[in-house]
Amino acid sequence: MIFKLFGTFFKIGAFTFGGGYAMIPIIQDEIVDKNKWMENEEFLDAIAVAQASPGPVAVNTSIFVGYKICGISGAISCLLGTVLPSFLTILLVAVFFYQYRNNPIIDKVFMGVRPAVVALILSAVYKLGKSMGHSKAKVLIALVTVLLIVFVDISPILLILAGGIGAVFYFKGKEKES
């Protein structure tokens, strides 16, 4: 199991270009859809925790997912799996290929990957959103979050806190009513 986790996250680390958020759709596909190690809701919780904690989101997510599936040994193997491909690639680049950094062909390849990254992130949103159910309030909260992030540049941590605290008051009030 530990080797399988390591292998899965090594694959995730090796094939995602474009930073942490690009890894989320791939993690979702491998962990939730394919291997069914987690529910969609648990996966969203993992991302919430990852986002609210210091450090790269993809690394935090992999550690949390590892704990969830296999305890501390799972967390360590997921972390190693995520980090090793980066580490090895960069070391190779730093040692051998640094002189080719302005190569136009390589530039083109990476420009071509970017639209794919956009599509992947959006489809992860679609899949995760579908699993949450179609309540109007949830869609509204998600939309307001997008608008605040894009136009107001507010800290994501504040939004996560607001969402959590708001929901506690909302459900507490509802409980009193009934």
Partner: protein
């Protein structure tokens, strides 16, 4: 001595930057260029470009690269371990807290409110990538087609990346 300094710098970078890779860049810049003068600004920008172009989280990539530039292979190991160590410690603590209190209604309610926010956060990440990615109509069409096949045809995302 340089290795220890490198380790402490990247531990601080890992521990105090919230919000993922891009949020770490100002911290990295301050520690590496302004405090320790290990690199010039243009070297730093080159390293960022390479970090974006290679697979994996940008923070890890730039830590490995900077560590190598400053102190060779040992430096790259020190910087990489140091930058993920705070994550590991913090997530370990939170995970134990999460499993212990998951059955409390308050924690359950809080996460019910947090989930749609997280969904919005992920969606807005796609918008910030789209700003760089959508350079012409072709790139928009590629993204739309890929969105369709990944969401409705269950195609493996890794195949699409390559």
């Amino acid at each position: 001595m340089k290795i220890l300094q490198l380790f402490i710098s990247f531990f601080k970078i890992g521990a105090f930057s919230f919000g993922g890779g891009y949020a770490m860049l100002p911290f990295i810049k301050k520690e590496i260029i302004e405090v320790h003068h290990w690199l010039t600004t243009s070297e730093f920008i080159d390293i960022l470009a390479v970090s974006e172009m290679t697979p994996g989280p940008i923070a890890i990539n730039s830590a490995t690269f900077l560590g190598y530039k400053v102190a060779g292979v040992i430096g790259s190991i020190a910087a990489t371990v140091a930058v993920v160590l705070p994550s590991f410690i913090v997530i370990s603590l939170i995970y134990h807290f999460y499993t212990k209190f998951r059955n409390s209604p308050y924690v359950d309610w809080a996460f019910k409110g947090i989930r749609p926010v997280v969904l919005g956060l992920i969606a807005s990440a796609s918008i910030s990538v789209a700003k760089d990615a959508f350079i012409d109509l072709k790139s928009v069409i590629i993204a739309a087609v890929l969105f369709y096949v990944v969401s409705f045809k269950k195609l493996n995302p890794i195949i699409l990346m390559s």
